[in-house]
Symmetry: C2
Subunit: 443 residues, 2 copies
């Protein structure tokens, strides 16, 4: 009866301690603010769905990774493994209630039972944003702009969004007569950044004549700035067409908005998946490219074809939140977020607890987060409590201060005392010194 159960969590699953969770919430809240500013609307879908609904499209690899079971009602159900499939189902189900083009974002947990090595988790947060119901350069650009602007809002030091166009690449493959290998070619090209030029070439000649492999290498390694690269790949693919014009238009928009320095036309970007049909995106921290893309996506031809006959094209991207947070941390660009309140009100005299709660209430009304130490304990112990938590200030008020209608503030970092303050004066000091505390910033 009194056996202790070990409080363990499943492999690949995580608890978040207060400061880590506060940091994650702060980042999500900044992203959401940007998504809303750009006209993207929030939606939500269930964590659990009919397996048939989730796996309808391409079981394949996903099958083994999925958390699938029979519920108590005998239904074959599964935890969602991404936010794209549920979004497709959502569009088919709610088409009549929504207006196209529809712009949505969705930040939520997904589940994959895959190997947990190398910072991969079985439960992780995805952060998707898409524009569906239109196939045009303006929408392709809008996703690019939102990638740049949202990462700017997170104060990511510098970002390079690499873009390419799958349609142009496919035309090259057609011209070379190897379109039937396109999926395999894409997969091998996708390894370029990892395995280098020579090995990629070696992999390609397994599939095609050496000259075709040379042309592909030349295509994916075009250099000399966006304009020169566009010219080169246009030529290799067989001249201008609507896809090269589309890419050109997106690049012109980027110039007009002044974000061209964050955009790299990089024909080696393919995004492996067969899924994409047009522009594709990968985004790298300029000072930490080795961690890989922190935001990827592209244009797809038909989102919801397995649920509806209506043709719904779309374009979107997904921020890899865990990787981005790890990257920001490594770059020292993670805002110093603490879950601790601005001020801990020391319980110096238990008979004044009502007054302490009153002070806390007034602090909060002024936007300063405050906590009352709830019972008598030696002052140094209470002070140590506030310090360990990470609160920047403690407030101290004994009987004489209470009678005089004042309080004393102590800054924990350097033990500076500010004595005999009014509540307003105390708020002033706290606010001026702690501008980054979560509660004050726009969320």
């Amino acid at each position: 009866m009194n056996t202790i159960i070990q409080p363990r969590v499943l492999k690949g699953f995580r608890d978040f301690l207060p400061n880590a969770e506060a940091a994650r919430k702060s980042i999500i809240s900044t992203l959401e603010h940007d998504f809303r500013l750009h006209g993207f609307a929030p939606i939500d879908t269930p964590m659990l769905e009919y397996t048939e609904v989730l796996l309808g499209k391409g079981g394949g690899d996903t099958d083994k990774q999925i958390y699938r079971f029979e519920d108590n009602g005998g239904r074959d159900v599964a935890l969602r493994f991404d936010l794209t499939v549920p979004f497709a189902r959502y569009m088919a189900a709610h088409r009549a209630e929504l207006y196209l083009p529809f712009k949505r974002y969705h930040i939520a947990k997904v589940f994959r039972g895959e190997n947990t090595q190398r910072g991969r988790y079985r439960e992780f947060m995805q952060c998707d944003f898409d524009i569906v119901g239109t196939d045009c350069a303006s929408a392709d650009f809008e996703i690019l702009l939102l990638i740049v602007r949202s990462l700017e809002s997170l104060q990511v030091p510098a970002i390079d969004v690499h873009i390419a166009h799958r349609g142009i690449f496919n035309r090259l493959l057609n011209r070379l007569g190897i379109q039937e290998h396109s999926a395999e070619v894409l997969r091998r090209v996708d390894k370029l950044k990892k395995i280098g030029r020579d090995q990629t070439h070696a992999l390609l000649v397994e599939l095609m004549p050496a000259q075709a492999a040379d042309e592909i290498m030349s295509y994916i390694h075009a250099e000399g700035g966006n304009a020169a690269v566009l010219e080169r790949i246009t030529e290799l693919a067989g001249g201008p067409d609507e896809n090269t014009e589309r890419l050109s238009q997106v690049l012109r928009f980027a110039e007009e908005l002044g974000i061209q320095d964050s955009v790299v036309l990089d024909p080696s970007i393919t995004r492996g998946l067969d899924y994409y049909t047009g522009i594709v995106y990968e985004s790298f921290l300029r000072d930490l490219p080795e961690i890989g893309s922190v935001c990827s996506g592209g244009r797809y031809n038909d989102l919801a074809s397995i649920y509806t006959k209506e043709h719904i094209p779309g374009v979107g991207a997904s921020i890899g939140l865990d990787r981005l947070i790890a990257g920001l941390e490594e770059l020292g660009a993670l805002k110093d977020t603490t879950a601790a309140p601005d001020v801990v009100i020391i319980c110096q005299d238990e008979s004044l607890l009502g007054h302490y709660h009153n002070l806390a209430d007034q602090f909060r009304a002024a936007g300063v987060s405050a906590e009352v130490y709830p019972e008598s304990r030696k002052i140094p112990a209470q002070f140590a409590f506030a310090e360990k938590k990470g609160s920047p200030y403690v407030a101290i008020c004994g009987l004489s201060e209470h009678e005089a209608g004042v309080l004393n503030l102590r800054r924990i970092s350097d033990r500076t005392n500010f004595d005999g303050l009014s509540l307003e004066a105390a708020c002033e000091i706290i606010r001026s010194a702690a501008p980054t505390t979560q509660v004050h910033t726009k969320e």
Copy 2:
């Protein structure tokens, strides 16, 4: 191959459309702001846990309602059915990294395979806040204060938080010699509001002598204001003790903070569960009490006893978000939240799309959410799009406006035109008219 899969969701699970999700997010964000102001820190735990860890304490009813299965690694796992059990496990696992008293909040989804009738869902959001590691009046009061303040922030018209004390009630039962039936007595008393006085009495006499039932009825129906009720139940329980003093202290704090009009000492509140040992809370919308408690909780003696030998007392409450939102809606107190952007920039001339994106970028920099209609289409159709979405304004800019560096704004509600505006002037108009739009308000 082209079979259409029906885009259905599981019974008891829900999609959230943009406006509903925006409303829910706005409420959560207001609550989180308050929790943080009060010094409560966010945490997170996995959706999926070892079944042993979740069910260790009291399988009982929960067993049948749980989503439990074997994962691909052969582990017996289950979706969490509340946030309390994971919190207990979390405290045992991370005790060394946290400082007591620890105040946490957790707003997240939980899963129960129960009957879906009467607005109950199988996937729903819980919103818990607790103070653990201390057993004192100050913490009991702080939970009460946070219930009142957070519901005030949501502009709930009027709220009554009913409180009682399980320890005092248990003393009465002891005095009456029926402590061995206490769980069953609590369950029956808990029905008072539903079945009325007479039937409750009838249920009680099944368990005890008529005189004891009379005393219990007298106890749970004490009247005449908080002070009189406290006096009466103190007397019935056998005179003052630390529990009556605790309740008295909480009521004094409430007076000192000026929230006494929202606090009702109501000895009929028992919260059924054996779990609670001290103060208990239930909160009702004064103008809609029939929907039941929108925020309930209480003090428990030992949170994590199945995972650790350390004794961790606590007190907390949980907001029933679905019920609260339904209640606010019924009272017309749900802030009119729209997921639509403040302004849709009409695509009047496709050659100006870059300029439109520039305008949108400037709107956003000024805090106004903006969306560019991404391609040419008849103006009335674009206008209708903005209207159906719920955007309050469209911006129109043709070649001549572009040359003059101005734009025209049209208010959709009354078709008022504001012509020849600078961007600043347009922002001014939009901001002055749409003060409640999500993006502008503190979140």
